[in-house]
Amino acid sequence: MKSRDVFSFAFGAVRLRKMRAGLTILGIVIGIAAIVALTSITTGLQVTITSELGEGFSSDTLTVSTQSFGMFGGGSSDFTLLVNDTDTINEIEGVQTSAAIMSKSVMLDFGSTELPLSVTGVDYTAYASLYSSFVAEEGSIPETPANDSVVIGSRITDPWDNGTVLAEVGDTILISWTHRVGLEMVEENYTAEVVAILEEIGGFSMGPSDLGLYIPLSTAQSFFDTDEVNSIAVKLVSDDEELIETVSQAIEDAFDGLVSVTSPTALLDTISSVFDIVSLFLVGIAGISLLVAGIGIMNIMIVSLMERTREIGILKALGMKSRTVLGVFLMEALVVGLVGAVIGVVAGYLMAIIFSAFASTLFGGDMFGGGGGPSTSMMTITPVLTTEIILGAMAFGVLVAVVFALYPAWRASKLNPVDALRHE
């Protein structure tokens, strides 16, 4: 029997039981759609995040902190970095400049509204030379700032993105910091004048953020009454991989290994591998639904085999070989799998698009509302559907259908024609 005839015979059998075939196909569609949707969303998310991180990170910048800056956290030690440690770092060969960064959580009083935010003490000049995004859109960043100056991120002025301007250049804002002295809770207040508003940065960044407030380092030192800093950002003379390695090592050695040095490249690698794990996990879950669909196919085919025992007997009596009977049944599964996979890929992509549109409205709206803290900016996910995803998902769908049909098809092919014909 020619393959074309095997196909049309098998297709006729599938078409005859539309409801049954439809439900079987639905199982495959759901499995494939879930895989495609999850894969394309995570791929899209990965692309968005890595590209935004790539923009926000200068690859020639290292971050020195007392705790490991991995995605899996890490213990912090008692060791603290101090403001003057920049001097030690600046002496290391290959370092162009460095900036100490002191960050504290504070309450901000804009008169009408109070917002919990974090304020960062930095040396404006050093910080600007480290991060090109530290640029004023309104006002200007002074080289020798007055003690009460503050530079704010673009979203501080208009946090809800609806024209509610909280602060403009020249406005004063009240920063209050609560800390403990002995058993007492002490609230320190500090009035600062907005000297500049930064250009919009967007996304993620190791450096300045749209929700950041930047005060001079010396002011921070006296206001917070400490010389401890959270981290020191280091700019290298070039972004050569080897240089990054040697300088990282030199910095760690300079502090007896009590600090950790993070390079943006390493961070990106970590994020990428985390995404790979997450997407593998999600696809695994989706794969289970496909497995269920496969069992559905097997079940349906066994039932269909019982119903069609006589038909198989007829086919064999007419001279059909066992392997052709096998082929007919596998072809039926192939048709079901292929149709399911094609619909599944389309449905999955549509699901991904709908989901990301929904997610964008959800996260892109009220940043300060709800229970979550403020976030830097809205993140749009564009689902990515690659040829690999399409072909992989389709191959997987067809494979599942055929593999689960193997046993029923094999049983059909092994039927003895006389017994099959006698079957009621």
């Binding site: 029997m1 020619k2 005839d5 015979f9 006729g12 059998a13 005859l16 006589r310 038909e311 007997g313 007829i314 086919l315 064999k316 009596a317 007419l318 001279g319 059909m320 070989k321 066992s322 392997r323 052709t324 003895n416 024609p417 006389v418 014909l421």
Partner: protein
């Protein structure tokens, strides 16, 4: 073998069939008529012993070889055994498709055969839309479409009224006479027995009598 209990359906029987002959096999239920027919048609293999057809021991053939032998045999069953989802033409065309005959040739030959059994107006009807007699005509057409060496009929009229049964057997007789098709018919019907060239009477797995009419 029927079910789990071994039955010696046939015992040491031997007979010869001439090409173009019309043989009726009669005998009571359980005498081994159908078993013999199934073996002649390579549908079944003897569990022990030999079965020689045209000098070939069928019991030694593989499943695939048996399938090939069956391509040269036309079967007509008591319960028609048509495929319900295929129309008359699809059913008749099926053995040709299985044999790998080209589509255009299949169509021509199918229409020819269906016309010869008088179903030229019923080609696109499914078995459920046909009467018992018409169904059996489709089955006959399906049996002769491949120009087989011989046609085996297992109680072809068992499920038909006597008038329709007569029409079917007249058709078969006509095919035998005009086209020289070799016919082996298992039947209870005494009329068929009389119509055939030769009647084998079976009893308990052996041929009790072999009468030339």
């Amino acid at each position: 073998m029927m079910g789990e209990i071994p039955v010696n359906a046939l015992r040491g029987l031997s007979f010869e069939v001439e090409s173009g002959e019309y043989i009726a096999i009669v005998g009571p239920s359980g005498s081994g008529k159908s078993t013999m027919l199934n073996m002649i048609g390579a549908l079944d293999r003897p569990t022990s012993g030999k079965l020689m057809i045209e000098g070939v021991d069928v019991s030694t053939l593989s499943d695939n070889q048996l399938a090939d032998v069956r391509k040269n045999v036309g079967f007509v069953f008591q319960f028609f055994n048509l495929i319900p989802r295929l129309d008359a033409r699809g059913n008749v065309e099926l053995p040709l498709a299985i044999a790998g005959v080209l589509r255009s040739e299949r169509k021509k030959r199918t229409e020819e055969v269906l016309t010869s059994v008088g179903l030229e107006d019923r080609m696109h009807h499914k078995p459920s839309e046909l009467s018992g007699g018409e169904r059996q005509r489709v089955a006959v057409a399906r049996a002769i479409v491949t120009n087989p060496t011989f046609i085996l009929m297992d109680e072809p009229t068992g499920n038909l009224d006597s008038k329709t049964a007569g029409e079917i057997m007249d058709l078969v007789k006509q095919l035998n006479e005009e086209q020289g098709v070799t016919l082996i018919v298992v039947t209870h019907d005494q009329n068929i027995g009389r119509q055939a060239d030769r009647t084998l009477h079976m009893l308990d797995g052996v041929i009790a009598s072999d009468v030339v009419n």
